[in-house]
């Protein structure tokens, strides 16, 4: 394999439509300025503290006239540890079709950016609506729920005591490198579901920990209606079950939303991905290329995928490897021998709803 060949491989892996970038130079400059400012403040504060310490040391070394008897125990005992989660049933699962957290209060101006649900985790995130024609800078508030025993974000990061959230013990997570504009709060609910709330990049110079606490206090878990998506499927592939549902909302001009779900079972998976045809300089990558028609919709069908062209909306249904990477579908040469779900049937039962007002549960 010569270098040119490796370059071609790398180039080929780049032949995917890039979503609008959430990274931005303006954000980098704003964050950079803030850090520079904070460094200067910290340097000033350090100098002040040094002066006070030296003065204190000089005073402490002065001979005392009388010894003060030790009258009481130290009032600076270690912080109490957060209360531990109660034992929980091992069979706890989220139903990926539903919203599992309700946030009662969120800072004004933030709006839903994404939801994702699987059997073991549920996440939702919120961001500021970007100015017209601009991309949002990414989620500002993210809530993630994990069933007991699931890996949690920043599980190895240092923690400090936080005041209780609705009577439940809580900790602040402090990963190295996070600045004071980010607060990560973790607590658990009765039943052992763990919640991690991240608040970052809030506008207006607010106390981020106070905001995080207020949001956390307003969070309720349960089942709060279906996750609505811009598509609906009439059936589930045989021998498979719903594995996850996700939706992302990006209120910018090029790609207002993306959504999808996955099915798993029988040593393989099916990935459904629905998105508006992007307005980008993508060449003819998104032009309709048809080799069949499914229920009147132009489509391209291969052994392992179906692409449907619903006018301005494109839907891809793809046979994917099993998550544990042990299924036969993981062998790229072996697709023909996999007991493939009938992708054409699945495609025939798909309807898309580009307008948000029409979104509905993806199944059922």
């Amino acid at each position: 394999m010569d270098p040119e060949e490796v370059r071609r491989i790398l180039d080929r892996s780049l032949e995917v439509p890039a979503p609008p970038s959430s990274a931005s130079i303006l954000t980098a400059v704003a964050l950079g300025r803030r850090r520079v400012h904070r460094r200067r403040l910290a340097a000033g504060a350090s100098a002040g503290i040094m002066v006070i310490m030296i003065a204190g040391l000089v005073l402490a070394l002065q001979p005392r006239q009388s010894a003060v008897p030790a009258m009481r125990a130290s009032t600076t005992s270690a912080m109490p540890p957060p209360t531990s989660s109660p034992p929980t049933p091992a069979s706890a699962r989220f139903d990926p079709r539903f919203i599992h957290a309700h946030i009662g209060w969120i800072p004004p101006g933030l709006q839903l950016a994404s939801r994702e649900a699987s059997a073991l985790t549920y996440a939702s995130s919120y961001q500021y609506k970007p100015p017209s024609g601009r991309h949002a800078d990414g989620p500002v508030v993210t809530l993630r729920l994990s069933q007991p025993g699931q890996p949690e974000p920043e599980s190895d990061a240092p923690t400090t005591f936080a005041s209780a959230v609705n009577g439940r013990g809580a900790v602040w997570i402090q990963p190295p490198g996070e600045d004071a504009t980010t607060a990560i709060l973790r607590w658990s609910f009765v039943g052992g579901v763990s919640a991690t709330l991240t608040v970052a990049g809030l506008r207006g110079g607010v106390d981020v920990q106070q905001v995080a606490h207020r949001i956390a206090d307003s969070v309720r878990i349960g089942t709060f209606g279906p996750i609505t998506t811009p598509f609906h499927l009439a059936s589930v592939p045989a021998d498979m079950s719903l594995s996850s549902v996700w939706v992302q909302i990006q209120d910018d001009a090029s790609r207002a939303w993306e959504s999808g779900l996955t099915f798993a079972g029988g040593g393989a998976g099916v990935n459904v991905h629905v998105f508006p045809k992007p307005d980008c300089a993508c060449g003819n990558k998104f032009d309709t290329v048809q080799n069949t028609t499914i229920n009147g919709t132009p489509a391209w069908m291969s052994d392992t995928s179906v692409t449907l062209y619903f006018g301005r909306v494109i839907a891809e249904i793809t046979l994917t490897p099993d998550r544990d990477r042990s299924g036969p579908a993981n062998d790229p040469t072996n697709h023909a021998t996999v007991a493939s779900p009938n992708l054409a049937d699945l495609a025939a039962g798909m309807t898309v709803y580009p307008n948000r007002a029409d979104w509905r549960a993806p199944l059922g």
């Binding site: 990274a23 974000p153 891809e316």
Partner: protein
């Protein structure tokens, strides 16, 4: 950072943004994570702009930052946070889909260090010495990582690899 520096920084970054984003994607194999890595890199570059500008090769300096942010992110459990999509929603509407999926799977299957070595050597066109400096390891380690990565790719893609669909 003075206003002059800031405009110089902005001019420098604007011209390279897309290329760096693609590099970050090759490292992360996920656009959302790539954007996180790029954002962190851009902020760090802003903070260290004078040092970066004074470097012999500013581009290599930035690639080093990018790779180090990527490797540090990967070491942190936070990298697994809120994977907002169950499967990456990047599947393109292409009809040589299978081959591209195979290539992507092969790259995703590589350990982060091997993938970084491959990207720096063959996408960023950095020398073995520059790559070693970026990864903070010996040149021999870069060579062995690259060789192992190529072996894994060969096995995953089948030999000989051809770009014909």
């Amino acid at each position: 950072v003075l206003a002059n520096d800031e405009s110089e920084y902005t001019a420098y970054v604007v011209g390279r943004f897309d290329r760096w984003r693609r590099t970050a994607y090759l490292l992360c194999q996920d656009w959302h994570r790539a954007d996180d890595v790029l954002q962190t890199t851009l902020t760090r570059l802003y903070l260290h702009w004078r040092r970066a500008r004074a470097a012999d090769n500013t581009d290599a300096y930035v690639h080093t930052m990018l790779v180090r942010v990527f490797l540090a992110e990967g070491r942190r459990a936070w990298a697994r946070r809120v994977s907002l999509v169950a499967e990456t929603p990047d599947a393109a509407v292409e009809h040589d889909h299978d081959l591209r999926l195979t290539v992507q799977q092969a790259l995703r299957g590589l350990p982060a260090g091997q993938r970084a070595a491959l990207v720096l050597r063959f996408y960023c066109d950095m020398s073995v010495e520059q790559t070693a400096e970026a990864l903070g390891c010996a040149t021999g380690t870069v060579k062995s990582k690259t060789a192992r990565a190529l072996t894994s790719l060969r096995q995953a893609l089948g030999v000989p690899y051809t770009t014909e669909a």
